[in-house]
């Protein structure tokens, strides 16, 4: 059975402990807090334009990758344009 006086004795003794640490705000603390507050907390719902622009970049990169994948033959040929005689006959440039 625990002795009920133990906690009481210990807490009585601990209450006598004095905390001599400085209670004033450290240099620059209030300036930092005020600046953070003035800058405003980041909104919980991100800005719609910001959100859309990030998505737009992602979509643009995706489209670019798909285009490159489907036209790889074009790049493998090194952009060399081979105009055959038949092409010229079928579709003459007037």
């Amino acid at each position: 059975m625990p002795n009920p006086d133990h906690w009481e004795k210990l807490s009585d003794c601990a209450r006598a402990a004095e905390d001599h640490r400085d209670l004033s705000a450290p240099f620059g603390f209030s300036t930092r807090v005020a600046a953070l507050w003035a800058a405003g907390a980041r909104p919980l719902v991100p800005n719609m334009w910001e959100w859309m622009s990030v998505r737009s970049v992602a979509v643009a990169l995706g489209v670019m990758a798909l285009t490159l994948a489907f036209n790889s033959d074009l790049f493998s040929r090194g952009f060399s344009i081979e105009v055959s005689v038949i092409d010229t006959i079928d579709g003459p440039i007037l």
Partner: protein
């Protein structure tokens, strides 16, 4: 800024109008109150400045909700306490430790406490406080908060109710549970009891 010179209601109004100088002055004014609460409840954590910063940002972001029906210090204390509680919940760890893990002075104060005929000496107060901090780490954050306020800061149940927003019976139940747990923990540190339980 000197506390006596600060016109708190005027300062609050200016902060509401986004006056940065007023925010700085209010921070300086309230800092001792906030840091005292943080040190009482999270004394062994090294990030007291970060926590104080969180408290002030909460205070400023909610300042429009402050109606002035309670003193500003009470309102801020409540925010500081709930912030400490959130941090305790987030960092909750209950390390196992034994008599051998205690420092020399902590072991001495424990021996004084365990012996009925011995009374802890006033010079052992800091060691007692350190020992209590270790014991408090083993409690649930809510129980820890209540027993700190009640038995170490000697606040009344009504004051704790106002500070935490919990009902009086909830405060009493938590206090009862926390005291019982503390007594058990102290008892477990007694070598004879440890040997008997192991």
């Amino acid at each position: 800024m000197d506390e006596d010179e600060l016109d708190v209601p005027d300062c609050i109004n200016r902060v509401r109008l986004r006056d940065e100088d007023a925010a700085r002055a209010l921070t300086e004014h309230l800092y001792p109150l906030v840091i005292k609460i943080i040190r009482s409840h999270l004394p062994r954590r090294g990030d007291e400045q970060d926590l104080a910063q969180d408290v002030f940002l909460k205070v400023f972001s909610r300042l429009d909700q402050y109606q002035g029906d309670v003193p500003l210090s009470h309102w801020v204390s409540r925010i500081a306490l709930t912030t400490c509680l959130d941090r305790l919940r987030a960092q909750m760890r209950r390390p196992e430790w034994r008599m051998a893990d205690l420092g020399e002075t902590e072991a001495e104060i424990l021996q004084s406490t365990l012996r009925i005929e011995n009374e802890p000496q006033p010079g052992q107060a800091l060691a007692a406080r350190d020992l209590i901090e270790k014991l408090l780490d083993r409690l649930k954050p809510e129980d820890r908060l209540v027993i700190t306020l009640l038995d170490l800061e000697e606040k009344s149940v009504a004051e704790i109710r106002d500070l935490t927003g919990w009902g009086e019976s909830a405060v009493k139940v938590r206090a009862f549970r926390a005291r019982r747990k503390m007594r058990q923990l102290i008892d477990l540190l007694e070598p004879e009891n440890r040997n008997a339980k192991s």
